[in-house]
Amino acid sequence: MMFGYYLDLALRSFKRNRVLTALMVLALGLGIGASITTLTVLKLLSGDPLPQKSARIFAPELDPLTAASTTPAEKLFQRWGNLMTYTDAMSLLHAHKGERQAVMALASSKVTPQVPGRHPFFSDGVVTTSDFFSMFDASFQYGSGWSAEDDENRAHVVVIAGFLNDKLFGGANSVGRILRVNDHDYRIAGVLKSWAPQPRFYAVSLGGHGYGNGDAVFLPLQSALADKVNTQTVNCFDADVDINHLETAPCAWVSLWVELAHASDAPAYKTFLANYVHQQIELGRLHHPEVELLDLMGYLAQQQVVPDDVRMQTGLAFGFLLICVVNTVGLLLAKCLRRSREIGVRRALGATRAAVFAQFMVESGMVGIAGGVLGLIFAELGLWAIRHQPAEYASLAHLDVSMFVATFVIALIASLVAGLLPAWRACVVAPAPQLKSV
């Protein structure tokens, strides 16, 4: 009931002190704009790539280094993540201890369009095993993935991304057609719907970029190996190796992911993993007993996917918001102390302290809303600027509904916190001395 009256009073007060009000709104808007811009980027980078099932997706980690190695396993896991040798990855894959499991590596692949006059080009590619698509919720526009038999038979089948299908076949159903990849013929088994988890978690330890529009070509691992594919990252821990036979080389170059039926099955899988390593140590193949099993989000934290710079930017933006809030406190206080006489009159006419307090809080809340609107504009500007930056996540920086709401929540909280001190100073004004001097 009184709220409308307070709004009216606030508007009048703004009109009287236009410059001061504009300064407050501008400062608050800048602080909020900066905070929302950096928060949006932080949220984008630290997002959950598979929200429906990330708690059931696990990255097993083991230490394949030689007996002479003195690198602590913990340090190695941070650097290599779930990267392992082909031998270990395939043994764990074939054990079928998880609901689903897949072994993978990245391989930039040469695609030759069967159209005269069009140049071949390289696309981001994944070489993997059959469970990849169902485990990572990649759904198909046409056709399907390949089977475990296709893996073992080194079948020449390929799954391509929707955008590659658009580029090569104009979006038509291309299942069954032949695609020339890395100078070998592959039959198209399926075309994905748009599938690009952000961050591109499975690429983190494999040496790929962390964000972007997703991979274009998916080949069966064993078939690609038979065709002498070059994978992105090969970490050999013994210099006397034959890189042309990666299947047996002492090199970590594939990663393993496992989907468990329930998140609570993790300890059982970890025990299985530890037993496997023990067995291999007895056989003399492995030398270090440490293992780790992290769920998807734990893995992203271990691999420090969010760049330090982005976290520092966010911290800086909130430091800046704090300065803006202090600034607003000062300006609101200046404004309200100037109006001591008006407050005196209101108090003398019967307004309670609570009423005066409420009036000033309404006024600062309005500054907050105006600052929020301005902040939204600044945030859109900031995100526009980020989209024109060279970072690989740049094109994904957009304001979503939750950040839109967050803008106003932050703006209101910031302005109400800023208004507390001035409103309290206003409500303790004693009516009598103010009236005397009129």
């Binding site: 400062a27 002479a68 390289f122 330090d308 933006a317 430091g319 100073r425």
Partner: protein
């Protein structure tokens, strides 16, 4: 000037005074750390690299047919060499900052191999003419001779079969501190040995790869004969010819073999891409600093103006009893100086606190002491500029105000 009355006046306005101090303290703390980060990143961007950065074009060829690779690569080299303006051409496995790195651990004796923390060094494999094409600066010893290039092939473990190597100054200093590195042996694994025949000025690795800035100059160079895996072509020319060479070079190689994928870029592009994120971070930090200082200045203007407005009467009285305009100006300027000083002192403590926090959680070093006086001066100047307007308005208050009722 007597500052006693200023303290007396400030005591009556504790909250606004405290707010100004707080604002300056926060601005000082953030400014110190932000400027420090800007300085660090500008240092990163300008890290030294002793090759002819302004004269190099990189033409990368992917998808060469393995059966004809060696002959194809020779043809590419000849074609590129014949282009007008080209002074040297060579094939290399990778280029500094190109983000495609071959690394290996090196030891100074066979007993050290993989037994202790042996340094991880980036490998560059160059075909004949490589040192000239890159513009390497020889400090000691020699580059490779024709036989060394011809006899060196790529082994199954992707190491050259030759036995000579040229290392950067940093590698030499790490492996043999205070010794002459020429003639020394390095071991890669237990069976591959290489003799150091030359030392060159520091060349960057293809990427900082984990080691960070400290290992960024750990590179070594091997001779190699043309080979499938060596598919980046370094073309050296005068700086003004580079754009034409990128354009024509790509076209010529595509015409030679239509089935390969050719990409050309100048080395300046490679460096630009590598540091693109760092550069945008620098601009972001500068923008935040400028806006933050502006907001702080406006806050000071607002509060001081309010103050001046409130004290018109007192100012009038002072003027009536003989204070000059300069006295009034000085009063507000001194007051602001005192508040700024308090803010700066608190701000420095805060700045060190933030720096300690950043050192614990991020790869940051200690804030050098000279950042503190510099940002203190910056904030004093800012405060004085901000207070100038309100102080001038105060100085213009006529003495007659004293005789009027407030």
């Amino acid at each position: 000037m007597d500052i006693q009355p200023i303290f007396a006046a400030l005591r009556k306005h504790k909250i606004p005074a405290a707010l100004i101090v707080l604002e300056i303290a926060l601005a000082c703390a953030v400014l110190c750390n932000a400027v420090f980060m800007i300085g660090q990143r500008i240092g990163e961007i300008h890290v030294s690299n002793a090759i002819d950065e302004n004269g190099i074009v990189d033409i990368g060829v992917q998808g060469i047919d393995p059966k004809t690779a060696n002959a194809d690569i020779l043809r590419y080299l000849v074609t590129l060499r014949q282009m007008p303006g080209v002074t040297a051409v060579a094939a290399v496995n990778s280029l500094p900052l190109a983000n495609n790195s071959w690394n290996t651990s090196v030891a100074t004796s066979p007993s050290d191999v993989s037994t202790k923390d042996t340094p991880n060094v980036a490998e560059y494999l160059l075909t004949q003419g490589g040192p000239e094409a890159l513009g390497l600066r020889l400090l000691q010893g020699r580059f490779f001779n024709g036989d060394e290039y011809a006899d060196s092939k790529l082994s199954d473990s992707y190491l050259p079969t030759g036995h000579v190597v040229v290392v950067t100054k940093s590698v030499a200093a790490r492996l043999w501190p205070d010794q002459n590195p020429l003639g020394k042996q390095i071991w890669v694994g237990k069976t591959n040995t290489f003799t150091v025949v030359g030392v060159v000025a520091n060349v960057l690795r293809p990427d900082a790869s984990g080691g960070g800035a400290a290992h960024f100059h750990w590179s070594m160079f091997f001779p190699i004969s043309p080979e499938l895996a060596i598919q980046e072509f370094v073309v050296r020319s005068a700086p003004q010819d580079r754009d034409r060479i990128v354009r024509d070079g790509v076209q010529k190689l595509e015409a030679l073999s239509p089935s390969v994928v050719v990409k050309g870029q100048t080395f300046s592009d490679i460096r630009g891409k590598y540091f693109a994120n760092t550069r945008s971070m620098v601009w972001m930090l500068i923008l935040v600093c400028v806006v933050m200082l502006a907001v702080t200045a406006f806050g000071i203007v607002g509060l001081t103006s309010f103050w001046v407005g409130q004290r018109r009467r007192q100012i009038g009285i002072r003027r009536a009893v003989g204070a000059t305009r300069a006295h009034i100006m000085q009063y507000f300027q001194t007051e602001n100086f005192l508040l700024s000083s308090a803010g700066v002192v608190i701000g420095m403590i805060l700045a060190f606190g933030i720096n300690l926090y950043l050192m614990q959680h991020y790869q940051t070093t200690r804030l050098p002491w000279y950042y503190l006086p510099v940002s203190a001066i910056a904030l004093w100047v800012l405060g004085q500029l901000a207070v100038l307007g309100p102080a001038l308005r105060a100085a213009n208050v006529p003495p007659v105000v004293a005789t009027r009722d407030a």
